[in-house]
């Protein structure tokens, strides 16, 4: 019996708990900044799960892009546009109904996928962590087209943002 064999489930449940707790927090809190902080918990917890699965690159990207970049931008946007110091959600009934519907549909789809997949567990998964080199090779050879399409999409977004923010004159 190895230390890691009983430590790993503990850590997994820890991270999973953080993810779940924060996700529920996002839904329940009415303060946007707090919701953003809960989002940090979710994103960080998921990154932790990636680390646990030895997907180091994915975890680091998750942290750097979502937690370090997107989240900061969200909070930044909230601060720039706030009407009162404590921004609160006040969803109308129709909005709440729409959100519930979408949420349920999404949940159903995810549940279908999760139950539909045959989860075969490798004897000892990912003993050799996926290296950055492998990921890079895959992206630039096998998945070159989607990779480039994504980059073009981002470029379009950037140009659009610059257009929207340009001076009037």
């Amino acid at each position: 019996m190895n230390v890691n064999t009983w430590l790993e489930p503990i850590v997994f449940f820890l991270f999973a708990g953080v993810v779940l707790f924060s996700a529920i927090g996002i839904v329940l809190t009415r303060n946007i900044v707090r919701a953003a902080l809960f989002l940090l918990g979710t994103l960080g917890g998921v990154a932790g799960l990636y680390f646990l699965l030895m997907a180091n690159l994915l975890a680091a990207i998750q942290l750097i892009v979502y937690a370090g970049g997107t989240l900061v931008l969200i909070v930044f946007g909230v601060m720039l546009t706030s009407k009162s110091p404590w921004v609160r959600f006040a969803p109308s009934r129709s909005e709440a109904a729409a959100a519930t519907t979408i949420g349920l549909v999404l949940f159903a789809a995810l549940a279908k996928i999760v139950t539909g997949i045959d989860w075969t567990v490798a004897a000892h998964p990912a003993d050799q962590p996926a290296t950055v080199r492998q990921v890079g090779n895959l992206l630039l050879q096998q998945y070159l087209v989607p990779f480039e399409v994504a980059s073009v999409l981002l470029l379009v977004v950037m140009i659009g943002a610059a257009y929207l923010a340009r001076p009037e004159n």
């Binding site: 190895n2 064999t5 900044v33 750097i64 970049g69 931008l73 930044f76």
Partner: protein
């Protein structure tokens, strides 16, 4: 002089004497008792090796439970929360230890020696030392006030920290070797896993050294080693800010023709930061009543914890790394990015307009400077063809000329781009807009005080060290000296180890290089005015970003041609590399000459006071 009485402090020497006596009693009594208990237990264990299990079970399991059962009614009767809690804690500990001993076939000898012999002896020695200090207080103070004591203490502290680090690495390596040693009989496994039992370890130590096996036994577990190493890392990160702050104040003082801290601790006020820390802890703990209290309390930790986490992946030398991640670079950048969130939340939760300004500036500054910073870091990564920091470092072990900064012209430009961007990402001058005191009062930490405020500073200085460390690893030859590693003495003796550690390879060189970059950060801060926010963003988006893009592009082409397929270009690249190294040598010599010139021509005070010229003064 007459006895001056301050009305709000009653001078009661009797009370103080009583307190001293009480403390002495507790320390002496406790220390002696613990020492005796430890020695007696050792004797008991040696005398009755067969009964060890029973003795340990009774002493470590049953006795605490009994004591707890006795304490709880006592605490309840006296209404003392402390006693009651203590009682419950004792019961808990007793139950845990007893349960562990009974339920698992764990070696009771290990638990017994760790809990009942080594623990009491260590505690006893510590308490006796404290008692001795109280007794010899005056003599100790006399000793501390002696001329060279402070300097010796300071230098001794540094040497002992280095020794400690070295020793712990040595021990870890030794234990790891033992685990793989085939000469030991490693057929048995202990309850918690691991390959070594006490008995096996003991065979390595003869006679009186056998107890060492008990200390080494836990170290075979990675978790324990990690915990100890983590403690070391956190300790080191706590010491970095303390001394960087002290050093910054000294350097600033010299730059401004002042002296800087001179009092606390004796030699150049080396203990100033400790005194400040104590002061900060004692300060009022203010939470703005109109702010978001929860987030306000949380924010310092959000800034502090990621800054520490960055050190998880930051190697100090090839083996001095907590986790040698293959994505270490990305991980450190991510952690520095998350640190910003703490700052933003702090500014937001303070409900102070200046704080919000600081937070907004931090957000837009950080988000924009992360891009040129990452782009500039791509250049050495591409040149090295690796993302693991230790791999990149390994490329630079062939002396000054092999450092990546002089590898090609683009690397050198990338180094300066990175350094500029790193100043901005650590909110250091001239990019210290989030806390610019002349515009925003104190920016995001306007409302913070005491310990929480100091956490922000710890985070800032830790981040400064982390970005300097990245610069050193990626551009300035990591932990290798300017001489090729192949020249290093290869012997296993202490002398060649010292020479290797000081001149060729190892964490000391790394810390020295980081210190040099930190010094440049300090130097810039006390020389330059602050940039305006639009100029900050202009410098990022219109200067640094295109520049780093060009550099990445250029370096790509350079790497494309700089190989054996293009012999002409390869030889050209060699010449360029040589020239650039020469530039590097010249810069280094210039800086050294600058320092020497400054030291030789140092003056304490410029001129004398005019008033001394006048009669009667």
């Amino acid at each position: 002089m007459s006895q001056a009485t301050i009305p709000w402090i009653e001078p009661v020497p009797e009370k103080r004497v009583a307190m001293r006596r009480k403390a002495l009693l507790v320390l002496f009594g406790g220390g002696l008792t613990a020492l005796i208990v430890g020695c007696v237990m050792l004797g008991v264990f040696r005398a009755l090796p067969d009964q060890v299990g029973t003795i340990v079970f009774i002493l470590a399991g049953v006795l605490p439970i009994l004591g707890g059962l006795g304490l709880i009614p006592l605490g309840l009767l006296n209404g003392s929360v402390v006693l009651t809690t203590l009682g419950f804690a004792q019961i808990g500990i007793g139950a845990l230890v007893g349960g562990l001993l009974k339920a698992t076939p764990i070696d009771p000898l290990v638990v017994g020696v760790l809990l009942l012999v080594i623990g009491p002896i260590a505690a006893g020695l510590a308490m006796l030392t404290a008692a001795g200090v109280i007794v010899a207080f005056k003599q100790v103070v006399q000793l501390l006030l002696m001329r060279w004591t402070a300097l010796i203490l300071f230098c001794g502290g540094i040497v002992s920290i280095i020794l400690l680090v070295w020793a712990h690495a040595f021990v870890f390596r030794y234990v790891a070797q033992l685990a793989n040693d085939t000469t030991l009989n490693t057929s048995a496994t202990t309850t918690f896993g691991g390959d070594l039992t006490i008995a096996e370890l003991s065979t390595r130590f003869s006679g009186n050294w056998r107890p060492v096996a008990f200390v080494l036994w836990p170290l075979q577990f990675g978790l324990i080693r990690d915990l100890i190493a983590m403690g070391g890392v956190i300790g080191f990160i706590s010491i970095i800010p303390l001394y960087t702050i002290w050093w910054e104040r000294k350097v600033a003082g010299r730059i401004q023709s002042r002296l800087g801290p001179m009092r606390v601790g004796g030699w150049h006020g080396w203990a100033q930061s400790f005194a400040d820390g104590m002061k900060l802890i004692c300060k009022e703990d203010f939470v703005p009543p109109e702010g978001d209290g929860t987030l306000f309390r949380l924010a310092p930790y959000l800034a502090f914890v990621p800054a520490i986490c960055a050190f998880i992946a930051l190697p100090f030398a090839t083996t001095y790394v907590f986790r040698d991640l293959d994505v270490a670079l990305l991980f450190i950048l991510a952690m520095l990015g998350i640190e910003v969130l703490g700052v933003i939340i702090a500014g937001w939760a303070s409900n102070n307009k200046w704080s919000v300004y600081g937070a907004m500036r931090e957000a837009c500054q950080m988000v924009s400077y992360e891009i040129p910073m990452g782009m500039a870091l791509l250049v050495p990564v591409m040149t090295a063809g690796a993302l693991r920091l230790t791999d990149i470092a390994k490329l630079q072990q062939d002396g000054f000329g092999s450092w990546l900064a002089w590898n090609n012209p683009f690397c050198l430009i990338a180094f300066f781009c990175y350094y500029t961007a790193s100043l901005a990402s650590c909110k250091r001058a001239p990019f210290d807009l989030p806390e610019s005191e002349s515009e925003l009062v104190a920016g995001f930490h306007t409302e913070y005080s005491g310990f929480r405020w100091s956490l922000f500073f710890f985070a800032e200085y830790a981040a400064m060290f982390a970005v300097s460390g990245l610069a050193v690893i990626l551009f300035l030859g990591a932990w290798y000296g300017p001489l090729p590693l192949s020249w290093a003495p290869a012997g296993n003796d202490i002398a060649s180890a010292v020479v290797r550690g000081l001149l060729f390879d190892g964490p000391i060189l790394f810390i020295l290089k980081c210190g040099l970059l930190l010094y440049v950060q300090i130097w810039i801060r006390w020389t330059l005015p602050r940039i305006r926010i639009d100029q900050v963003l202009y410098a990022c988006i219109q200067v640094l970003l295109p520049l780093t893009m060009l550099v990445v592009l250029g370096s790509t082409f350079w790497l494309l041609f700089d190989n054996s397929a293009h012999p002409a270009f390869e030889s050209f690249a060699k010449v360029v590399r040589g020239l650039l190294s020469l530039v590097g040598v010249v810069i280094s010599i210039a800086i050294a000459g600058f320092i020497i010139f400054g030291f030789v021509n140092r003056r304490r005070l410029v001129g004398t006071l005019a008033i001394e010229h006048f009669p009667g003064s």
